[in-house]
């Protein structure tokens, strides 16, 4: 029997949507192993968030609150995760792959002397998982042979979790943090404010590449996205160029998305970009080069200039609404 501890991320007392993939993973592992799922929620607002995930069949939700956890510094969060893992006798510790867990989970793994699988896409059994390697050109089946195992979970590959079971009890854990002894100090954060849905969980994503020509040219991507209520994304090339915020990058080394509809505008379709979006249900590409590799994964390809085609498409969409 292996118990599972799932890190549930929250913001302002609400569980983050991406985090639900981790819960689904936990349910799948528990089903295969006969163990129980436990949740851990850290940071100001954790108690409120706990009540929102109470219906997902966890045996217990551990809550760690306090100002020391406000910025999710790993030196504060690692002991919190390890304490919760011990409390529920977890043999697997996991969470949806986000920038927070990518920073935290390997550190937790090292403290637990656990082997770790990153970006898990499927559960084979309680110790065997599938995950992509070489920019998604290879799917590996890996077995973790350590006693405790750590996984991060690819959000795009797990459906929303099922509700069920009794309402989850919560337990507060007191984790002492000596802020003065911490090696890292939080200095500040510059948030990219957006009213659009987050690309990793959006139903539709519209992305732009170097074909938009400039920061100004990216507006066409935003306009199409807004006509569809979609999230936005970008290729590495235009993040590097500073035309759009880095946080929009989709691909092997950026965000991984798998929306119902992905629309690539002026993106050539390099392997590294495809690695981040080719699990999308329907893919549309508009590119003026008929040989662009993006067309090899597109369900519907349109050869043309985005400055000509996209305004027409927006018009069509507006007419239909």
């Amino acid at each position: 029997m292996s118990n599972v501890l799932i890190i549930v991320e929250q913001a302002g007392g609400k569980p983050k949507k991406a985090t639900l993939a981790g819960i689904t993973f936990g349910q799948q592992v528990a089903q295969k192993s006969g163990g129980q799922v436990h949740f851990l929620i850290i940071g100001p607002g954790a108690s409120a968030a706990a009540s929102e995930v109470a219906g997902y069949g966890a045996a217990k939700t551990y809550v760690v609150e306090g100002a020391a956890f406000e910025n999710y510094l790993v030196e504060a969060c690692t002991p919190a995760v390890v304490t919760a893992a011990k409390a529920c006798n977890a043999s697997i510790v996991a969470g949806a792959a986000t920038s927070t867990t990518k920073d935290l989970l390997p550190r937790v793994a090292a403290r637990l002397d656990a082997a770790m699988a990153s970006d898990v896409t499927a559960v084979v059994d309680a110790k065997t998982f599938k995950r992509p390697m070489w920019a998604g050109n290879v799917t590996a089946t890996v077995e973790l042979t350590s006693n405790i195992k750590v996984c991060s979970v690819r959000v795009a590959e797990f459906d929303a979790p099922a509700k069920g079971g009794a309402t989850t009890a919560t337990e507060k854990l007191d984790i002492a943090v000596d802020a003065g002894a911490m090696k890292a100090k939080f200095v500040g954060r510059k948030e990219v404010k957006s009213t659009r849905p987050d690309a990793t969980t959006a139903d539709i994503v519209v992305s732009g590449g170097r074909g938009v020509k400039s920061a100004e040219g990216f507006k066409i991507v935003e306009q199409l996205a807004d006509s569809l209520g979609a999230g936005i994304g970008a290729s590495r090339a235009i993040c590097d160029a500073g035309w759009v915020p880095n946080d929009l990058q989709i691909g092997q080394t950026g965000k991984i998305v798998a929306p119902n509809l992905y629309i690539a505008l002026g993106i050539s379709g390099a392997i590294q970009h495809l690695a981040g979006m080719k699990s999308s249900k329907t893919i549309v590409a508009i590119n003026k080069d008929p040989e662009a590799p993006i067309f090899t994964v597109a369900d519907y390809g349109l050869v043309g200039d985005i400055t000509v085609e996209v305004p027409q498409l927006i018009e069509k969409i507006k007419q239909s609404r």
């Binding site: 070489w134 090696k183 954060r189």
Partner: protein
Amino acid sequence: MKILVTVKRVEDYEVKIKVKPDGSGIVTDQMKYVVNPFDEIAVEEALRVRDAAGSGEVVVTTIGVADAQQQLRTALAMGADRGVHVLADGNVDPMMAAKAFKKVIEAEKPDLVILGKQAIDDDQGQVGAMLAELLGWGQGTFASKEDSLESDAEKSKQPALKIANGRCEVVREVDGGLETLSLAMPCIVTTELRLNLPRYASLPGIMKAKKKPLQEMKLAELVPGAEARVKVVKLEPPKERKAGIKVPDVATLFDKLHNEAKVI
């Protein structure tokens, strides 16, 4: 200022990787190997930090087969001073790598250690944070900068890491924006793509690199008894998408999306 940088030998990112029919590995005939792109960025940053400090040493280290020496030489040709090659055959998982690097670090005592955020072969993205924990150091993962790679600041090759009074300030790329941490040194930094544009090795650099010192040791001696606990059971090609169609115009595209795929 002494900086240690990890450099991994990986398959060239421009090559399409294919799985062997029996699933035991990837096809490596005529494979071209390169320095992991994130590690090139790490080397570049280390050189800038050293040069801005006016003195110091950049030590590059790798764990891998005998031929991984080529990647150390590439880093030396870029301008690093010295190499440490930890010889290893077979599967080295991230925790093994972190344990071996810890040993190298205990011997070298650097002020700063820079790794890539991920190796583009295993795509694990684990070693940096594991190493920070094993050493009890602070970590600044996904180091980036506010200026774009086409900015004047980048053209003048200033380091993005700000080092002063025994602390290293790191701008990190996180979901939803940028975050800044100040780390007590020594510390661990892992590189994001936007930290810098790495230089190419010059011809004189390549000539000089041949004579730079390179120390060899064995993984089995550094971490006796360590074995990979991420066991690769099998590899397979990913599911291919079925080929789509080209549509002649926006009207057809809209019709397909609305009536066939029913996604808008």
